[in-house]
C-alpha cells in the first residue's frame, strides 16, 4: 500500500504523466513478484551461506570416526539425540557436519564445472554464430560430436582411466557440459549478427574482438546465465552420480552422492541415511532450477510490465 501512495505522490509532484520509477526499483519489484525466483534465491542463498560458514557451524569434525557412536538415528527418531541432529553414519561420523561440508563440494563442483563449460561453449558458439560459413560448419560438427556422446558413460570411462578426485570431476564435467552453452550462444549470436548496431560498430572501425566482447556478448549474456544455472544443477547431479558409482569424489570426502552410496546397504532398515542427503540434493537442484526459470522469466520481454 505504501508503495502505491508514494508512486501517486511522485506523479503529482513531478507534473509528468509517467510515474518516475527508477530501473533498479522496477527490477526489484519484478524479482519480488516472481514467487519461484524469490523462493529459489532464498533457498540457494541459505545453502551457500551454510556452505561458506560450515567450518564455524558444524557441531563435530566431519571426518572424525567414532565406532561407539555408529548409526545413531536423527533427532526426530525416538532414539535420536540433540548431540547428533541428523544422526551418525556407519563409521560414527556426524551426519549434519558431513552434510554441510558436502554442500561445499556440490556447490564448488557445480559452479566451477559450469564456469569452465560456459567459457568453452560460449567461445565456440559465438565464433560459429558470428563468422558462419566454414567456421560454423566445423564448430557445429564438434557440437554434434559432443551431443552424440552419452555424458555419464564418457565421464565414467574417463574417471575410471584417470582416477576420481575433486579436481578430476570438475575438469571432466567442465569439458563435457558445454554443448548447451554452444548451441544457445550460436543461435542468439546468429540473430544479432546482422543487427545494424553491429554493422555500425564495424563501419566505425571497431575490431572484431571489440564487437564480439563489448557489443555482442552483453546482449546474449542473459540467455547464457539461464543456461549456466541449468548446467550447474546438471553438474551437481552428475557429480552425485559419479560419486555414487565410486568414480567421482573419493572417500572420506563428504560428497552427497558418496553419502547416498555409503548408506545404500542400510536403506531398508535405516532409511534416513540415504533420505537426508537425497533430500538435500533435491532441494539444492530444485532451488537452482527455480532461480534459472525465474531469471529466464525476468529477461523475457513479454514478462515485463
Amino acid at each position: 500500500m505504501s508503495d502505491a501512495t508514494s508512486t501517486v505522490s511522485t506523479v503529482s509532484n513531478a507534473n509528468t504523466f509517467l510515474p518516475v520509477v527508477p530501473e533498479w526499483r522496477r527490477t526489484l519489484n519484478r524479482f519480488l513478484g516472481h514467487r519461484g525466483l524469490l523462493m529459489g534465491s532464498i533457498i540457494l542463498g541459505l545453502i551457500v551461506v551454510l556452505a561458506i560458514l560450515a567450518p564455524w557451524l558444524v557441531p563435530h569434525d566431519p571426518y572424525l570416526q567414532n565406532i561407539s557412536q555408529r548409526m545413531i538415528p536423527p533427532v526426530w527418531h525416538e532414539k535420536g539425540s540433540w548431540e547428533h541432529v541428523f544422526g551418525t553414519d556407519k563409521l560414527g561420523r556426524d551426519y549434519l557436519s558431513r552434510l554441510l561440508y558436502g554442500a561445499r563440494i556440490s556447490l564448488t563442483i557445480g559452479l566451477s564445472a559450469a564456469l569452465i563449460s560456459g567459457l568453452i561453449g560460449t567461445t565456440l558458439g559465438v565464433l560459429a554464430g558470428y563468422f558462419g560459413g566454414r567456421v560454423d560448419a566445423v564448430i557445429s560438427y564438434i557440437i554434434t560430436t559432443r551431443l552424440a556422446m552419452p555424458v555419464v558413460l564418457v565421464a565414467l570411462a574417463m574417471s575410471a582411466l584417470v582416477g576420481g578426485s575433486l579436481q578430476m570431476v570438475i575438469i571432466l564435467l567442465g569439458l563435457l557440459l558445454w554443448d548447451r552453452f554452444a548451441v544457445v550462444a550460436r543461435s542468439t549470436t546468429q540473430q544479432l549478427r546482422d543487427a545494424e548496431f553491429i554493422a555500425s560498430a564495424k563501419v566505425l572501425g571497431a575490431s572484431t574482438t571489440y564487437i564480439l566482447v563489448r557489443e555482442l556478448l552483453p546482449n546474449i549474456l542473459s540467455a547464457l546465465i539461464v543456461v549456466m544455472t541449468l548446467e550447474m544443477a546438471h553438474a551437481i547431479l552428475l557429480e552425485a552420480t559419479l560419486s555414487f558409482l565410486g568414480l567421482g569424489v573419493q572417500p572420506p570426502m563428504p560428497s552427497w552422492g558418496l553419502m547416498i552410496s555409503e548408506g545404500k546397504a542400510y536403506m531398508f532398515f535405516k532409511p534416513w541415511v540415504i533420505a537426508i542427503p537425497g533430500i538435500a540434493l533435491m532441494v539444492l537442484v530444485l532451488a537452482i532450477n527455480l532461480v534459472g526459470d525465474g531469471l529466464r522469466d525476468m529477461n523475457a520481454p513479454e514478462g515485463r510490465n
Partner: protein
C-alpha cells in the same frame, strides 16, 4: 578539396544462389556496373523498388561487403587503400531501423561516445562535452543521455543514430532509408533535421529511399535504380517533371496521391522498361 566526395566506378556485386546440391547455382547480379559521382555538398537521391540492389550498394560503400568488381572512391581516395578507421572519419551511415541500430545494453551517452573512444579522440572530459554538444545539435534532450535505447521513441532513436554518425565530423553521410521505419509525423522532423545539418555542416548525402515524396523534398539530383543498374539519372526537375525511361515513368506514376478521389495509381505494363533496359 576533392573534386568528388563519393565516386563509384563500375561497381558490381554478384551473388550465387544455390539450387540444391547438383544444380548449377544461379547468378544474381545484385549491383551490376554502377558508376555514380557525388560532388561535395550535393545530395543525391537513389531511388528504386525493393530488391533492386540499393542496400547492397550502400553496404559496399560502407565497406561492409566486398565488391565483385569496381571501386569506391571517398574524397578521391580508394576505399581499402586506407584503414577502416580513417575511412570512417570521412563517411558515416545512418541506418534504416533505429530499433536495431542502437545497442540495447548501452546508454545513449555510451552509444554516442563510442566513435570517439574507438578513435581515441580526446580525454574523458572532452568526450563528454562533445557528446553534449552533438546532442544539442541534433535536438536530443540532455536528460536522455543516461537512458537506454528501449526508453526512447523512434524519432529520438534516429536522432541518437545521427548524433553518433556526426560526432566524428565526417563530410559524407550514407542514409539508407533513414525514415522508413518511423511514423509519418516523425519522418518530417528527421528529414528537416537532416536538411538543417546539411546547411550547417556542409554535408554530402547519398540518400537511399523508395519513397519518392521524401526524395523530391530534399535531393539535388536523382538516380533511378532498377535490377542492379542505374536506368536514369539527372537533376530533381529532370526526373520528376520530364522522366525519359519507362521504368522511371512507371515508378513516378505508382506514387499514391493524398487525394482519395483520384483513386489507385494505374499500373503500367512492365514489358516496356524490361525491353528498354
Amino acid at each position: 578539396m576533392a573534386e568528388y566526395a563519393l565516386e563509384l566506378t563500375n561497381l558490381s556485386r554478384h551473388f550465387y544462389l544455390k539450387n540444391g546440391a547438383f544444380k548449377e547455382p544461379t547468378l544474381l547480379k545484385a549491383v551490376d556496373g554502377i558508376s555514380l559521382r557525388i560532388r561535395p555538398g550535393e545530395t543525391l537521391g537513389l531511388v528504386g523498388e525493393s530488391g533492386c540492389g540499393k542496400s547492397t550498394l550502400a553496404k559496399m560503400i560502407l565497406g561492409l561487403l566486398e565488391p565483385t568488381d569496381g571501386d569506391v572512391l571517398i574524397n578521391d581516395k580508394m576505399r581499402g587503400a586506407s584503414s577502416r578507421l580513417s575511412m570512417s572519419r570521412q563517411l558515416q551511415p545512418i541506418f534504416q531501423d533505429p530499433y536495431s541500430s542502437l545497442n540495447p545494453r548501452k546508454t545513449i551517452e555510451q552509444i554516442i561516445r563510442l566513435p570517439l573512444q574507438l578513435h581515441k579522440m580526446g580525454d574523458a572530459n572532452s568526450q563528454q562535452k562533445a557528446v553534449k554538444d552533438i546532442s544539442d545539435l541534433v535536438g536530443l534532450p540532455e536528460r536522455l543521455l543516461t537512458n537506454y535505447p528501449g526508453q526512447l521513441s523512434g524519432g529520438q532513436r534516429q536522432r541518437v543514430a545521427i548524433a553518433r554518425a556526426l560526432i566524428l565530423k565526417p563530410n559524407i553521410l550514407v542514409c539508407d532509408e533513414p525514415t522508413s521505419a518511423l511514423d509519418v509525423s516523425v519522418q518530417a522532423q528527421i528529414l528537416n533535421l537532416l536538411m538543417d545539418l546539411k546547411k550547417e555542416l556542409g554535408l554530402t548525402y547519398l540518400f537511399i529511399s523508395h519513397n519518392l515524396g521524401v526524395v523530391e523534398h530534399l535531393v539535388d539530383r536523382v538516380a533511378v535504380m532498377y535490377r542492379g543498374k542505374i536506368v536514369e539519372q539527372g537533376t530533381r526537375e529532370d526526373i520528376f517533371q520530364n522522366a525519359q525511361h519507362p521504368y522511371t515513368q512507371a515508378l513516378l506514376s505508382s506514387v499514391l496521391t493524398p487525394e482519395p478521389a483520384l483513386g489507385l495509381p494505374e499500373v503500367l505494363d512492365s514489358s516496356a522498361w524490361n525491353q528498354a533496359s
